[in-house]
């Protein structure tokens, strides 16, 4: 558990450093995810402790969004003024994204 958690943090750190050095447009953790994925592909399997640690973290993924979500109180005024365009845009765009992505993927995956 401890070793796996350290591994995740080290990869995140390497990701952050690479982003700074190379001026990449993506955040460090996403680069860290790519690095871990590449390492697993090269290794050929996932060590059991790493799988356990990842499962523990991902089981409560929703929890990790709560602190940023509570920030809604800071923008209460703006959202009270623009709630209709914001909410309508988010809901409609969400539906469009879901349908377009699924349609293209289904079309492309046909017969595979």
């Amino acid at each position: 558990m401890l070793a796996s958690l350290t591994l995740l943090l080290v990869l995140q750190l390497i990701g952050e450093v690479l982003v700074q050095w190379l001026g990449l447009p993506v955040p460090g953790p996403v680069v860290g995810m790519a690095l871990l994925f590449a390492a697993l592909v090269i290794r050929g399997d996932t060590p059991a402790p790493l799988r356990e640690t990842a499962n523990t973290l991902l089981q409560h993924l929703s929890l990790l969004f709560v602190p940023a979500g509570a920030g809604i109180m800071v923008h209460a005024g703006l959202l009270a003024r623009e709630w209709l365009p914001t909410l309508a845009a988010v809901v409609l765009s969400c539906a469009v994204t879901l349908l377009v992505t699924a349609a293209v993927l289904r079309l492309g995956a046909r017969g595979r």
């Binding site: 995740l8 943090l9 995140q12 990701g15 447009p25 993506v26 955040p27 460090g28 953790p29 996403v30 860290g32 995810m33 871990l36 994925f37 697993l40 592909v41 996932t46 640690t53 990842a54 973290l57 991902l58 089981q59 409560h60 993924l61 929703s62 990790l64 969004f65 709560v66 602190p67 940023a68 979500g69 509570a70 920030g71 809604i72 109180m73 800071v74 923008h75 623009e82 365009p85 914001t86 909410l87 309508a88 845009a89 809901v91 409609l92 765009s93 969400c94 539906a95 994204t97 879901l98 349908l99 377009v100 992505t101 699924a102 293209v104 993927l105 289904r106 492309g108 995956a109 595979r112």
Partner: protein
């Protein structure tokens, strides 16, 4: 509140303990309520927990910054959790190889559709330019979206809220909408949910199954990269 309790609250609020404990308690209460309501998608645990916390902070007159001093320890775990997404993703390697071409096409189409649709709807309904710029990266994970928003002149903290709102909406409507439109393949369902609703959608997709969750994680990671490139281009073209 009586004087003594207020004093105690002020004392506790000054340490990170309160914000951290409050986050964990609120989430667990929200999750218990979600299970009690038969895992109804409308009873989204993130939305319930946020509502609880905002109500409590407002009632006690505690500023968000004071709360976040403690809650940042939970917020921080988003980093290692994102790295950890490589594990379920790797478990789907054979399926991923098989679907590589179609996923790349769906990725590009979904990302462009997301940015254009949110922009056009919000502008048609009279949103301010700053709100439009904050909305554009709404479908990608919080840290990426905040970075994009800052780059194009939006409000990063507003973007964080809109991203979470999008995640909740996608987690609520995604599975039902995809089922209603005839999507049966869990890989397609997961990928579409991850494209539209990032990590919150991914949490929901994992409830549908391992394959849906892994493809949602894949879409979320790839969409972060593509959207970081697409949004600045589209924003320059549209504004």
């Amino acid at each position: 509140m009586s004087g003594e309790i207020r004093e105690l609250w002020v004392y506790l609020a000054a340490s990170p303990l309160l914000g951290l404990t409050l986050t964990l308690l609120a989430y667990q209460a929200a999750h218990a309520l979600y299970l009690k309501l038969g895992s109804h998608p409308l009873a989204n645990p993130v939305a319930l927990a946020v509502a609880l916390i905002v109500a409590l902070l407002t009632l006690t007159g505690t500023p968000y910054d004071v709360y976040f001093d403690g809650a940042q320890f939970v917020h921080f775990l988003l980093g290692p959790a994102t790295v950890a997404l490589a594990v379920p993703l790797y478990a789907q390697l054979p399926r991923l190889k098989q679907l590589f071409g179609p996923t790349m096409l769906a990725l590009l189409a979904g990302s462009v559709a997301s940015v254009l649709s949110v922009w056009w709807v919000a502008r048609a309904l009279g949103a301010e330019p700053r709100t439009l710029l904050s909305l554009a990266p709404k479908s990608v994970t919080t840290p990426i979206a905040m970075g994009i928003s800052e780059k194009i002149g939006g409000l990063p903290s507003l973007t964080a809220i809109l991203v979470i709102l999008t995640g909740i909406v996608g987690a609520v409507i995604g599975p039902a909408l995809l089922r209603a439109t005839g999507t049966r393949d869990p890989a397609v369902t997961g990928f579409a949910i991850g494209m539209s609703a990032h990590g919150i959608g991914t949490a929901r997709a994992f409830q549908l199954g391992e394959t849906a969750g892994a493809f949602s994680a894949l879409a979320m990671g790839l969409n972060g990269v593509v959207t970081a490139i697409v949004v600045p281009l589209i924003a320059r073209w549209l504004s």
